[in-house]
């Protein structure tokens, strides 16, 4: 046990500082071809024609792939989690975001590949792009996605719902109603290592795939599904990722490289340029969050209504999952007994969005914490005391009925106040996470407390969407 508590050196530290760590682009396989992609120049357009014949014959070109080469083109990354497929690997009838891949070329040099890409003839019929999530679902608005403006598969609903208690009564009885809108913007991950993979056909008929993915088995499943290959024909080699932060779960290059490697019978590598990384790789999603809280004079948050619009970009990808996590955390680290949350995944003609550090939750933390500070200001209460009063305690239940048995809100808030040099009143300084009693258990919080001794997290009487029971 001498490792516990010890200051251990990084097992890869010496390799990092001596240049020995191997990233995908450092792997050298003789005969490797370079990939360049034909990308949509339009935000939204129908593809009227696609002709790769001139490109096929160009010097150094070994293979070109389009949607015709993909055994299973439309595969959903989260099909196993109930999110149906909507996104083609290679665009077929239309393009829905600027940068979407239509075709890819494997050639003996990046220049030869790019020259071939430039020789592919493609014609479009442009459509008006949908770019604002606030108006995308208006009656009569343009839509481009086969499911309409909104992702419709949250069970029977087109939104993720949380319902608890009686939020209308809470608003009727409130002393203050505090409203706010919060719009965290898209963030690009900017990993130092851009998206990259190297696919090597083996003599056995398998493919060895050197991948920068953060999720090796997941990416393996994606490639196998598109190729309609059994998993045991793929050998994924992961290793050191040059920064991912959530952006390297998208299996951005592996499948297309695999198709090219199969067609060319040569190793194939695709490394995004920095411009491709900025313009075409997925980002953290932009969000639009509206919060309305029912608040008492003495600082109890009795009810919350919340509307969230999540910008998925052109396809669903992981957005329903991110929104679901966002929904579960929409009360923040605080206990609010009456809730109505509606969250929508909205399609726009932007690059499909993805995970980034705290997927779905950073947006809700930002919004709810800013909102609490606003509430404190409106009612004239110290922002730390407002948080401590409403903080999760043992036996409190969340919006989706999870029983808190070890919440850390109180000690963390107290530690933060101390670190910031904030002097709190004595009764606040003495607060703990213990079950609510006395003044900390007003009547409106009685119904949401789990019985004493029930310490296991349970879902009680909720449907799959956190709906009221």
């Amino acid at each position: 046990m001498k490792a516990i508590g010890a200051r251990l050196p990084r097992y890869d530290g010496v390799a990092h500082v001596s240049g020995r760590t191997q990233y995908v682009d450092d792997v050298r396989v003789p005969g490797t071809l370079w990939v360049k992609a034909l990308r949509s120049p339009h935000h939204s357009a129908l593809i009227r024609s696609l002709d790769t014949s001139k490109a096929e014959g160009m010097t150094g070109v070994h293979a070109i792939v389009t949607h015709k080469d993909v055994p299973h083109n439309v595969y959903g990354h989260l099909e196993a989690l109930g999110v149906p497929a909507d996104e083609p690997l290679l665009a077929q009838d239309d393009v829905r975001w600027k940068g979407q891949v239509i075709a890819a070329v494997a050639a003996t040099s990046p220049e030869a590949a790019q020259a071939a890409v430039d020789a592919i003839k493609v014609s479009f019929e442009e459509r008006t792009p949908v770019l604002d999530i606030r108006t995308a679902a208006d009656p009569g608005a343009d839509t481009f996605h086969q499911w309409g403006a909104l992702y419709p598969h949250f069970g029977p609903y087109n939104h993720r719902r949380v319902r608890k208690g009686d939020v209308e009564a809470a608003f009727e009885e409130a002393d203050h109603i505090v409203e706010g809108a919060y719009r965290p913007q898209a963030i690009e991950h900017v990993p130092l290592e851009t998206q990259v993979s190297l696919v090597v056909p083996e003599a056995s008929g398998r493919l060895t795939i050197y991948s920068c993915t953060q999720a090796m088995y997941f990416s393996m499943g994606v490639v196998a599904a598109h190729l309609k290959w059994p998993l045991n024909k793929l050998k994924f080699v992961g290793g050191t990722v040059g920064g991912g932060f959530g952006g390297k779960v998208d299996t951005a290059t592996e499948t297309i490289c695999a198709l090219l490697a199969i067609k060319a019978k040569r190793p194939v590598k695709w490394r995004f340029t920095r411009e491709e990384e900025f313009l075409c790789s997925s980002t953290r999603a932009p969000w639009h969050v509206e919060i309305r809280d029912a608040v008492t004079d003495d600082g109890w948050i009795r009810g919350r209504r919340m509307l969230t619009l999540h910008d998925a970009g052109a396809y669903a990808r992981f957005s329903p999952y991110g929104l679901t996590k966002h929904a579960f955390h929409h009360t923040g680290a605080y206990t609010i007994p009456n809730l109505r949350f509606d969250g929508f995944v909205v399609f726009t003609n932007r690059v499909p969005t993805t995970a980034m550090r705290g997927f779905g939750v950073t947006s809700v933390s930002l919004a709810t914490e800013l909102h609490l500070s606003r509430v404190a200001k409106v009612i004239g209460m110290d922002p730390f005391e407002l948080r401590l009063k409403n903080a999760n305690r043992i036996g409190d239940t969340t919006g989706n009925r999870v029983v808190m048995h070890d919440p850390s809100t109180v000690p963390v808030t107290l530690a933060a106040a101390e670190a910031a040099g904030i002097e709190l009143a004595a009764d606040y300084r003495a607060m703990t996470s213990d079950r609510r009693t006395g003044d900390l258990l007003p009547e409106h919080l009685v119904g949401q407390q789990a019985p004493d001794g029930e310490h296991l997290a349970t879902f009680r009487g909720t449907d799959a969407n956190g709906g009221a029971s």
Binding site: S18, T194, R274
Partner: protein
């Protein structure tokens, strides 16, 4: 064209305007300098040209004919790390490691000039981007290296270097 890399003389056949980065990575298989942006904006490709730190992605081969190029691979002597390398390792200045080669080469040039203060370190490294560490440990490592404050080039992973930590910090009021 002739180029000396880490003390080894090479006949190089790449076209004269190939970037030094691609000559190193693709022709000479020296892969420590990385292609982070290929436009001089990130510092992941920094190597030494005649002892001075340069963005290899901005240097055409023809401009450095006959020059002495040093990369990270040329810093260590066998398994002994340079002072800068050892400092980076001891201060946990690398997480994913992709930016590390560039930072180390920039730091080597700075540290050769003696002790460096925080502002000087920040200025010297200002062209280098790191997305993982938040820079603080990198600055600490370079400062320590500039003062010679590293425990030496022995293997820091040796078991006798493990020692129990101090009592872990407890957050007040947290459950036992």
């Amino acid at each position: 064209m002739e180029l000396t890399v880490n003390g080894v003389r090479h006949d190089v056949f790449s076209p004269p305007l190939t970037t030094l980065l691609n000559v190193l990575r693709e022709e000479l298989l020296v892969t420590s300098p990385k292609a982070g942006c290929e436009q001089g904006g990130c510092g992941a490709c920094t190597v030494h040209v005649d002892g001075r730190p340069r963005r290899a992605c901005l240097v055409p081969l023809a401009a450095v004919e006959g020059a002495e190029i040093t990369t990270v691979e040329g810093l260590s002597d066998g398994d002994d790390l340079s002072v800068v390398q050892a400092a980076f390792h001891e201060h946990y200045a690398a997480q994913c490691g992709f930016c590390t080669s560039g930072f180390v080469m920039a730091a080597e040039a700075l540290v050769a000039g003696g002790e460096a203060g925080r502002d000087e370190i920040i200025e010297a490294l200002s062209g280098h981007v790191c997305r993982c560490t938040g820079y603080a440990k990198i600055i600490d490592a370079v400062g320590a290296a500039s003062r010679g404050e590293v425990s030496g080039a022995e293997d820091p992973a040796a078991p006798d270097r493990l020692s129990p930590a101090d009592e872990p910090v407890k957050v007040k009021g947290s459950p036992a």
